[in-house]
């Protein structure tokens, strides 16, 4: 993108985003913003693996859940701060991604996807069955400590907003650094043609394993945040297939394998969802996902490169722009 107006635009955007909670005090609106930031972050985490390297996982809820449960167990059973629990959850997720990855990467294409779905479902089953670890099917609430920043509990929604904004910023900056580095090129190469990549020295299994760990780590952080935000956890929520779906969906709709794709996708999807909710009252079972499904189909059929693809193509019309990074015009 031409440097000329990108940086001022970004600065403006950052300013708005930073100031928003000071201007908007409506709890419902803030909740939507938080959801947007959270799912953007989850999407960014997914995108590293699913977007750049095209390893299309629909089982990222596994790591969301692992992160959520790790920090909750540490907090409820051992009174350890969720800030530490968040990192611990990330590490647990990273470690879990090793055997899961080993198993799933033995397959390619849609069968990889199916295997990831199966592992997330299997984890949900485990947490549903074994009450000794983690409260079984009913889950648990976390004790409400009022304002307790050290235990990641805040009085105002604005504080939660800033925490998740911080997470998103971390996710975006990691993505940016990777995209511009040798690893970014390697990821895209693997996503395009794994065999050709191997032929030029790319250790595909190792790169896939590494990016899966990073992706899992970040997703787990989101899980911890979510529990802290809603004060509740149970296997159905923590390992919800819907989370896996949305993680992939926002990236595909917004622009798979691009830096801002997941953010754009989330804004579109969550805003649509919020509008639907206000028109139809409380979530009428199935409406949100029906609409999501239709949006996904529309994107797949007409613009598989997502909204960012649309933007890029429009951008192509302007002469004098320099191509940047690994990707050409999609």
């Amino acid at each position: 993108m031409a440097v000329r107006w990108t940086i001022p635009a970004l600065l403006l955007l950052s300013a708005i985003v930073l100031v928003l909670p000071q201007l908007v005090h409506n709890a419902f609106a803030l909740d939507i913003f938080i959801r947007i930031l959270l799912f953007s972050f989850i999407g960014v985490a997914w995108n590293l693996m699913g977007g750049y390297a095209r390893q299309l996982s629909l089982g990222h809820a596994a790591y969301f859940g692992l992160g959520a449960y790790t920090s909750t167990i540490m907090q409820v059973d051992f009174s350890i701060s969720p800030w530490i629990g968040m990192i611990a959850g990330g590490i647990v997720a990273m470690l879990a991604s090793l055997p899961i990855g080993w198993l799933c990467f033995r397959l390619r294409g849609p069968y990889f996807t199916i295997a990831t779905i199966a592992t997330a479902q299997a984890l949900m089953l485990v947490f549903l069955k074994f009450r000794d670890i983690a409260w079984g099917a009913e889950g648990t609430t976390i004790p409400n400590l009022g304002s307790s920043p050290l235990m990641m509990q805040f009085e105002t929604k604005a504080s939660y907003y800033y925490v998740v904004l911080g997470l998103l910023a971390i996710g975006l900056s990691i993505t940016y650094r990777i995209e511009k580095s040798w690893m970014g090129y390697y990821l895209v190469a693997i996503g395009e043609d794994e065999d050709a990549a191997e032929a030029i020295g790319v250790n595909a299994p190792r790169i896939k394993r590494d990016i899966y760990m990073i992706s899992a780590f970040l997703t787990a952080l989101a899980g911890t945040f979510y529990v802290q935000y809603i004060y509740f956890i149970d296997p159905a929520t923590a390992f919800s297939f819907n989370i896996s779906i949305e993680a992939a969906l926002v990236s595909i709709v917004g622009g798979i394998g691009t830096l801002w794709g997941p953010v754009i996708g989330t804004v579109l999807l969550e805003t649509t969802s919020a509008l639907l909710q206000s028109w139809l009252g409380s979530t009428t079972g199935g409406v949100q996902l029906t609409v999501y499904a239709m949006i996904l189909m529309a994107v797949i059929l007409w613009r598989p490169t997502g909204l960012m693809g649309l933007v890029s193509e429009a951008w192509q019309r302007y002469p004098g722009r320099k191509p940047a990074g690994a990707r050409a015009a999609p």
């Binding site: 090129y185 895209v188 050709a196 032929a199 020295g201 394998g257 191509p323 990707r327 050409a328 015009a329």
Partner: protein
């Protein structure tokens, strides 16, 4: 002059099909060897075996004295053995520059250095004006050039070229031959699979002929062309006649 690539007793079956049987040949350093044979002879399979895309059932391959059977393709490449594919496999979404940089990253992970090396390789194959073009938008021939540039960026000592001349017109063949010549002049050891006889005669002093997975002849171009087994394999027994009476065929 050391032995760059020593293939010894290489065999591979796929179910009931013996794709490669007991293949052995040696390529000296900086030599250009042509691997020829009718379709289905096992030439590309041999490449897959050498570069680690298929695991050989028996036999050994050593590159500059180092045994490489059992190594994964990326390790084989790291050791200095690069290859192109019969049907080009570009990273479509990336630019030409991006594609080649990906190859260059094997030796140096700095983006700036990789970019410079990539530009060099791109210039070598004559694709500089397409540096910013998306790989999927290139013509087939340019995609093949891209394959070569990408392989070159990994700084190989041995280069395996798989039918880079297929479908080229005579002028393009001359260009390609010149390119192979330049590569050889740089010190590379080259193994080239080809059907275009003219090109083979121009670049290779040493030829190995495969048929049904087995080596049926080996020698200089002149020897090969007059070898009755080779004639039989390509044209059938009806064409075999006493040596010295026929003309070399293209």
């Amino acid at each position: 002059m050391t032995d760059a690539l020593v293939v010894s007793g290489l065999s591979k079956r796929f179910g009931g099909l013996r794709a490669v049987q007991d293949l052995s040949f040696t390529v000296r350093e900086n030599e250009t060897l042509a691997l020829i044979g009718p379709n289905g002879a096992g030439k590309t399979t041999s490449f897959h075996l050498i570069t680690g895309f298929h695991r050989a059932d028996t036999g050994s391959v050593s590159a500059f004295g180092r045994e490489i059977v059992g190594l994964r393709p990326h390790d084989v490449c790291a050791l200095g053995l690069a290859r192109t594919f019969q049907v080009a496999k570009p990273f479509g979404a990336m630019t030409v520059l991006g594609n080649v940089m990906t190859g260059a990253f094997l030796r140096d992970r700095h983006v700036g250095i990789a970019r410079d090396k990539a530009r060099e390789a791109i210039a070598f194959v004559g694709l500089s004006r397409h540096e910013a073009t998306a790989a999927k938008d290139l013509t087939t021939i340019d995609q093949r050039r891209l394959e070569m540039a990408r392989a070159l960026a990994t700084e190989p000592r041995i280069l395996l070229l798989d039918e880079v001349m297929a479908g080229l017109n005579p002028a393009e063949i001359d260009q390609a031959v010149a390119l192979v010549g330049k590569l050889s002049a740089r010190g590379l050891t080259i193994v080239i699979v080809e059907h275009v006889m003219r090109a083979i005669m121009a670049v290779a002093r040493h030829i190995v002929v495969l048929d049904h997975g087995q080596k049926i002849a080996e020698g200089s171009p002149r020897e090969i062309v007059e070898n009755p087994e080779v004639i039989r394999a390509y044209l059938g027994s009806g064409y075999v006649h006493a040596p010295g009476t026929g003309d070399a065929h293209a």
